[in-house]
Symmetry: C2
Subunit: 191 residues, 2 copies
């Protein structure tokens, strides 16, 4: 998606530790018109695939997931990172190591929100080491649901998880794939 690549080049900043900061349009400030366009692009890629539910993880995945949900007309479910008072008592859980935060946390989804008949599309803002996506895949499997694939805004290909998932037969659609990133340059994979 050319518009996303241009946004990254124009507004993104590379921080120490291979962190790409896109806070000015993807999180924590969200360009609404642009995110709606991202949602429509995800819908275009997965239309006709029978997706019944979009699954993401709080919080930075929610905006993209909701935009995709609106475009695909399917509900969005987000996994929580912290137990809360109004969390269902029966939950599917998975452990996830966060590359950005350098810590392991547990994600949880109420059992009632994903069913065995569901066809799940996993949506997230970033795919780096793939830990969040694999956690969401485990939850999808636990629920006995089918996985349609993953839709990611920005994939950091140099961290390998996207291509590893593809080699395992998982459909991974990333709207921008970064092959190489330095303080002063970002190189995209041609798509």
């Amino acid at each position: 998606m050319k518009a996303l690549e241009q946004k990254i080049l124009k507004e993104g900043t590379v921080l120490p530790g291979n962190v790409l900061k896109v806070g000015s349009f993807l999180n924590q400030k969200i360009d609404s018109d642009f995110i709606a366009e991202v949602g429509r692009e995800i819908a275009r890629l997965y239309e006709g695939c029978g997706v019944t539910k979009i699954l993401t993880v709080e919080s930075s995945g929610i905006a993209i997931a909701v935009a995709a949900g609106i475009a695909l007309h399917v509900p969005v479910v987000f996994a929580k990172k912290h137990r809360s008072a109004n969390m269902p008592s029966s939950v599917y859980t998975a452990s996830v190591y966060s590359f950005t935060h350098k810590e392991t946390y547990e994600i949880a989804v109420g059992n009632e929100y994903i069913e065995s008949g569901d066809v799940v599309l996993i949506v997230d803002d970033f795919l780096a080491n793939g830990n969040a996506v694999r956690g969401l895949m485990r939850i999808t499997e636990e629920a006995g649901a089918q996985l349609a694939g993953c839709a990611i805004a920005i994939e950091k290909a140099f961290q390998g998880a996207g291509d590893k998932l593809r080699s395992e037969g998982v459909r991974v659609e990333s709207l921008a794939i970064i092959e190489k990133m330095t303080d002063s340059s970002v190189e995209f994979r041609a798509q």
Copy 2:
């Protein structure tokens, strides 16, 4: 908003401690078509008010805020509850006591995401004791921005914060206002 009242009556559950669980359509499963409708209703209420930015707090406010942002064509900024590696170094902060979680936490927004020229619309899923909204109002004030008002999905009027804010001259638009809530019944304010 009649459609929201009907959703609450049909799908909402009252949990001990005056918690209204709406996880099946507002969080953590989000009915996308419905949330888009909620967004359009918020846009209708605030169109012509010169809103330049929507401000919410992660994570349950994000879906509604994004839907409203898409309908109003303005960016959405969400305050974070936890510091992260890619958080700007200069932030506006406020302390918030959470009714649902029974704890005080700090919310933060990068300075660069709200400017003094902004006209801010605060959006959230719930208004109960008003602590999150007041935290977001303090951040708006700190940034030197103007407040257009608040747009809330569900206000628990019996906890008083909505009417208190209105008596202080703050515009508060709640799509459903609950006057009274028991295990088996929910009573709405006529609007």
